[in-house]
Assembly symmetry: D5
């Protein structure tokens, strides 16, 4: 099941650089692991902003919530979720 | 070059059903042709709305504009365009 | 899987009363049938507005979209969909 | 009488983890007690956000206000309240 | 129980003057009757707009919805409802 | 002359409890004194929020501004002012 | 007493030119008469829009409402009213 | 050339009273000097808010920007600028 | 003096194609004439929308208003105007 | 390829003046270097705000993102990006 997820990151300016770097490093590792698993199907940067547009492919919305909660940057992100499904004009039979 | 495009369709309630059906049929043909060409890389329905979220892969923003202008439903759509690029945490080397 | 759905109805003032009544009657029948099937779990009126707040329990977001599309009032409603899941402080083991 | 209540939690990043944990623990206890009493009829997590959608069943709006004020997280929540009532197409005779 | 209700009226410019006058006349009669009954406790004009701010005193939110539905101008109004209760700094013991 | 005033209070989380209590105590005293004088005609709590909806009856908008400025919580409130007047369907001859 | 009033005019595209011209002509006459009386103290065009920013000087907000209601374009305008008063840093003793 | 300028002041609650008083005192001096020069033609307080509505009369928009930059409260203000010009229904030949 | 102007065009779907074509043709002629005169310094299409972003170079805001009023599509456009000036980090001495 | 970029700068009031000056100085150097290279084609100040409107001419949206990321003020700016292209009524053959 597909969801479009938009994440806007806002780290406090007072956060020490080491803390921020550690958070980002762990975030990247998890993001890459989830991409390899196929759950985080697409991950794009929004031009000009510290934000991404992502497509998740999960078994349920509960699974999506649990995944997002594990992201190290979760407390510093504004997240918007939108449910997607196959478009009748798609040339693919599945939601791809 | 990738762009996320959101299209909300609003046909006037006074439009005859035949006119609407003809527009939608031509829209679908063009959408499928553009998907096969690789320009319209993804096309998803937004759940609960007569709207789609799409990813276009074009050579320039001018090419994107020209493509969108050719859509038969263009005069009846509210369109939002957002430039995307490769995310540094993507597991792919390209913008895929 | 649960989704909160908000539907705001706006019938054109020019619609003949018979057409509106027929639409509403078919809408009610379908809404009641979907409630009895358990898919449309809750249906509440928003005080002071021709709108409802609903909870749907479906197998997938695609199923939700297909259900909403069949509603006779669909072309006249502004619909917003929000994915819900079990809250960790809920006293129930499931999403109820 | 039914009210839909949406609560968005925003704890300050500077709050010590122990303080936050204590607040959340007391919030959970009270939320569960109110659920068991039947006042807090439904409690769902909004997917991807530290927020909930709830349905309260109270004798008056004053009672609802008093309940919300006792929540330990009240000072850290953005709360929206919307009055609901039975929908004429509901299959139930009461507001359930 | 008190509710603040804001009503913005927007009659279509194409409505014949007689129809509009008849609607307004019936609206006024009903509004005055509800004021005399004590249900519609206050009714004020918003300066510069075809709109009012009102305070209703009803037994339940369902009763409020039923009252608003009977207003002849209901189909032409944008209505917002907000639940109020006694303020702890009020000099009155009741919600007055 | 009547004005509807909405006040949303937002005390900084870092304010010591004693300071907050002293501010609120002085606010309450002044609010009650102004109610007794008839200037602050109505004061209601908005359900679920640290906010009020008020009706002021003053000789001029300048007088209203001067009153609001004297409120101890003024620096911590988001205030919105809307001018009201007698509604032509009111059953009272004055603005009551 | 001063009020800032913003008026945005939106005439229906279907209004015959003669009707529009007659409305505008009567609007101008009344606007000029009110300016000469000193009630409509300032009248400026907003650059690029069919809109104005105005300053009214009236005895009460009720008088302002009555004046605005008499404007021939009232049914076609979106009006916003904001109460103003003398600024403490003004070099004038009055609200001028 | 006329511009309407709206300034909303938001001083940090942590600013020492002496610093705030000094800023406000210098702001007032400059505001009065600019009023006497004729550049800051009108200065009104918005009722109920720490904000003003002003009319500037300058030779160019660049001059307006330079004036606003010199205001001691500039870093603490949200400023909105709107270009105005003579209204065709004004009874004055100039922009007054 | 520079102004950024954004124009969103919305022609009624009921406008006959000949009328629309005639309007657009006259709009283009005037736009090109104003570009050649140097008043309409830049004219860009916003990708995906029937809208443009323009830079005007005029002697006064009144001149800008008069120019915009002469555009044949003026009654069908939503126009936003923003005053610009030379940026202190510009490598040019003038506003270019 | 052209992009309109709007940048709103918001430095924390607690930032030491030396830090702010150093950031601004490096920002100016880079901005001027990018202007000389032709990538940052236009840079204008928005009147009354610590903000700019810019036109970038880059080979791809990815290049634009990389340029913006290098700006020393990037963490303190709210940035909006809009893709532009040649307007059919432009008198130039290219996007100039």
């Amino acid at each position: 099941m597909l969801f479009k997820v938009t994440m806007d990151v806002q780290l406090p300016h007072t956060m020490p650089k080491e803390t921020a770097d550690a958070l980002k490093s762990r975030e990247r590792e998890l993001a890459q692991s989830l991409q390899r698993s196929g759950k985080w199907r697409h991950l794009w940067r929004v031009v000009g902003r510290y934000a991404n547009v992502s497509i998740f492919d999960v078994a349920s919305s509960a699974e999506l919530h649990d995944l997002l909660l594990t992201l190290p940057l979760f407390p510093y992100m504004k997240i918007e979720v939108e449910a997607l499904c196959r478009h009748p004009s798609s040339i693919h039979e599945d939601e791809r």
